[in-house]
Amino acid sequence: MAKDGADRPQDESRRRFLKYTGTAVGGLVVGGVVGGLIGSQAKNAKEEPAPSPSGSAPAASNERDYNQALMFFNQEQFQTAEAAAERIFPTDDLGPGAKDLGAAFFIDHQMAGMYGTNARDYMTPPFQTAEAYQGYQLAFKRQELMALGLDALDEYSQDKHQSAFVKLSEDLQDEVLSAFEANEVELKGIPAATFFTMLRNLTIEGVYADPLYGGNKNMTGWKMKSYPGNQMSYYDAIEKDGLVKYEPQSLHDHLTS
């Protein structure tokens, strides 16, 4: 079998990087592939609009976001997911909630991809009843659990309150979600809490993951939390007292032509 020549770990770009960054300590790193990105970020930083103070749609953009379409959910599931996510991370004085941040699009996109299909999980049978400490043991894929759970949110809302979940008041929506969280709902043999925890965690991811995944729109999730996103260096700031503020950068700012 042939030797894999590509295994040489210290590649050329790194050599260049090191060459140009020989004096990295004490100042901004310049030159090299990574250094070039720092320069472009410093420029971008000043052009970023201020964080949106209210709960309205964040930072205006006249362009349509063609990423906002559905890969997995049907329309009803999407609306239910969006409404539930909004209760998990609601709009308030601090800023937008999960809905305006695009968390439901994030969840839809995740369900359509390898996370939703458990592509990197061990899904080989036999599936057996687990002790509480042995972790996830369902034969069900995450996207199947998600669809089942969202449909169940609606069914439960109809049974209890004679209305679709999306049409319930916020208080009643919270009540329904709490019932799922507390495992008080029958979900075809699956613990309802497992579905709720997944939905909760995906919502938080949709709020705070890099905007490239469809949520955290305009980095507003980060701005609320004073998280600066993708910065290359805090070498000159790490010793400073208090909270050092930055305009956030996303990985989009990291692409080089």
């Binding site: 079998m1 030797k3 894999d4 590509a6 295994d7 770990p9 210290q10 590649d11 790194r14 990087f17 090191l18 020989g22 990295a24 300590v25 790193v29 592939v33 990574v34 209760r87 998990i88 991370f89 609601p90 308030d92 601090l94 909630g97 458990n118 592509a119 990197r120 999980d121 061990y122 899904m123 036999p126 002790e131 509480a132 042995q134 972790g135 919270d174 979600l177 909760r200 919502t203 705070y208 993951a209 890099d210 490239l212 995944y213 939390k225 004073s226 998280y227 600066p228 993708n230 910065q231 260096s233 805090y234 070498y235 700031a237 790490i238 010793e239 208090g242 909270l243 050092v244 990291h254």
Partner: protein, 573 residues
């Protein structure tokens, strides 16, 4: 049928820290080495878009693909082990550099006490101090004997740390090659608080370079930028020491190392006394090959080293009923239940900045640095505050009683994201007779081979340790001027779901007696003198520290042993 390959002098299974160190040392000495890596190749160029919490921290980009292979787990022998289907408790490495790519770089030499834990315990407290079922044993090597190998790893990796050591850790014959990391306000606050509580805090020794560094092999690396993306991430600067930016290039530059990626070794071929080589599967095609070699070195993770020996029927399998046999014995972990979180209503910290090994540590309650006469446990923990760089998906600190979602959750988690600090205790994990590794009877990997099965739980030893150490973390945190502190001091059953630590140890122990250990103090197998098994699999227990320093020192020791074996043959002890 497996295709025969031309014979190599040395075959190394696994191209992480251990395989890299040994490959570099042996090739520099002129030996030909073939290195097997089941995963892909890697370089710093892969990390230009590494600041992606979702992809790397939550979706485990750099970790082993569990659909192909995982471990099974049970709390005790009465229940059926089930596969770890998705990641939780610990994260398995894969690809060139292995877990050495996505570590934090926290570097601690184990204590002199660790290597002679049994004899020192008996000496100070009497044999009755060791509880029924606890199987601590000496390592067959002393701290002083291992000391020169720690120095070698430190010089190679460029470890940064204080120029002098505190009283209660092992003496260093040479200071760290680089001075300490910068001190953030949070770290400084911890150090001052520790001093007020009467403890000696020191700068956490770090494999994230505090300064530009050229190592004895001529490898140049740039200083750490404190970007906050170490653990679970690769370093785009090469500032964090990992095998791909240190030892592997050195080995490759000799022209004497051939790395075969996507090559999964499934068997050591042997006659019961000597290995003739290894059998492996070329993963993309499924084709089988046989690689003859004079020396076979297992240099993969704890689970893979142990599993490969069991799959190959090499060495005496451990039997928990009789306590005899050695392969799979003394599986240990890390005890992390103790800690105190401090919440500050009127003070903010830039906790998003950081480095994997930016922090300070207190060792008064580690090892046998304190009197255990009246305590219901042995050993202890290091107590540290680290600023590794908190990322927004994971960083949602809330005082107890706060809901995990909704209005209060949002407001509280955002409020404290930059207003909370945590003092944590990293506890030792001591072995018990019924904590062990063997082959699972049911579940198989993608090639149809049995998965490794872990039988493990926390014991009274661990629960008592957590209680005592938690009180010490509170003593320090209470001096930090916080609005309030909350202490975690309860530990229950081991749970595979929440992330705890990727510090799994044991299974192929080193020692001075073939009846109780699998390898001697050169990591050479008692039962096959041309097979060396190196890594944390050799640890007879796990200390209250991160394991990589000791893994690295043992790798240098192994390299020396293999060199001696190639010159003279036979048992090295």
């Amino acid at each position: 049928m497996a295709t025969n390959m031309p014979k190599a002098t040395v075959a190394i299974v696994g191209m992480g820290w251990v395989g890299g160190v040994i490959a570099a040392e042996l090739t520099k000495a002129g030996h030909d080495v073939v290195g097997f890596e089941r995963g892909k190749s890697r370089s710093t160029a892969d990390y230009y878009h590494v600041h992606d919490e979702l992809r790397y921290a939550n979706r485990y980009e750099l970790m082993q693909d569990l659909s192909k292979e995982t471990v099974t787990y049970r709390n005790n022998e009465k229940i059926t082990a089930l596969p770890m289907r998705t990641y939780g408790s610990f994260l398995l490495g894969n690809g060139l550099g292995g877990a050495g790519v996505h570590w934090n770089g926290q570097y601690f030499r184990f204590l002199p006490y660790d290597f002679q834990i049994k004899s020192k315990t008996v000496e100070r407290y009497g044999a009755g101090k060791i509880p029924e079922g606890m199987t601590i044993q000496d390592w067959g090597i002393t701290y002083d004997e291992l000391e020169p190998y720690f120095v070698k790893f430190e010089q190679m990796a460029g470890i940064s740390g204080d120029p002098t050591t505190v009283d209660h850790v092992g003496k260093m014959s040479q200071p760290f090659p680089i001075g300490p990391m910068k001190q953030s306000p949070a770290v400084k606050l911890f150090r001052d608080a520790a001093a007020k509580a009467g403890f000696q805090a020191y700068t956490m020794p770090s494999a994230n370079l505090a300064d530009n560094y050229t190592n004895p092999d001529g490898i140049e690396r740039a200083a750490c930028q404190y970007c906050g993306y170490c653990e679970r991430f690769g370093c785009e600067y090469g500032a964090k020491a990992d095998p791909c930016v240190t030892v592997l290039p050195v080995a490759l530059n000799t022209g004497k190392l051939e790395i075969r990626t996507f090559s999964n070794v499934t068997k050591i071929v042997h006659d019961g006394k000597k290995a003739s080589g290894v059998q492996y599967i070329h993963v993309p095609t499924g084709e089988e090959y046989f690689q003859p070699a004079d020396v076979v070195i297992l240099a993969s993770y704890v689970f893979s080293n142990t599993r490969l020996l069991l799959l190959s029927d090499l060495g005496k399998k451990y039997d928990p009923d009789s306590g005899t046999g050695v392969i799979g014995k003394n599986y240990c972990y890390q005890v992390l239940g103790a800690g105190t979180t401090a919440y500050f209503d009127d003070k903010e910290f830039s906790t998003f900045m950081g480095a994997g090994a930016l922090g300070a540590t207190v060792d008064e309650f580690n090892g046998d640095n304190f009197d255990h006469s009246e305590l219901g446990f042995l050993h202890g923990a290091s107590i540290s505050l680290t600023q590794t760089g908190l990322r927004p998906i994971a960083n949602n600190p809330t005082p107890s009683g706060t809901p995990s979602w909704g209005k209060d959750f949002k407001a509280t988690s955002i409020k404290y994201a930059n207003r909370s600090l945590s003092v944590g205790a990293q506890g030792s994990s001591l072995p018990f007779r019924h904590h062990y590794l063997d082959l699972d009877p049911t579940y198989k990997d993608a090639h149809g081979l049995p998965l490794i099965r872990m039988t493990f739980d926390f014991e009274d030893q661990d629960k008592n340790l957590v209680k005592h150490l938690a009180a010490q973390t509170k003593k320090i945190a209470d001096q930090m001027g916080a609005t309030k502190t909350e202490t975690r001091d309860a530990m229950t059953t081991y749970n595979i779901t929440p992330y705890q630590s990727t510090h799994n140890t044991g299974g192929v122990l080193m020692g001075d007696d073939p009846a109780t250990s699998a390898v001697n103090n050169y990591l050479q197998m008692w039962d096959a003198d041309n097979v060396f098994v190196c890594g944390a699999s050799a640890f007879a227990h796990n200390s209250g520290y991160n394991p990589t320093a000791t893994v690295g020192a043992l790798a240098y020791r192994t390299a020396e042993g293999v060199g001696k074996y190639l010159a003279k043959g036979g048992s090295l002890v």
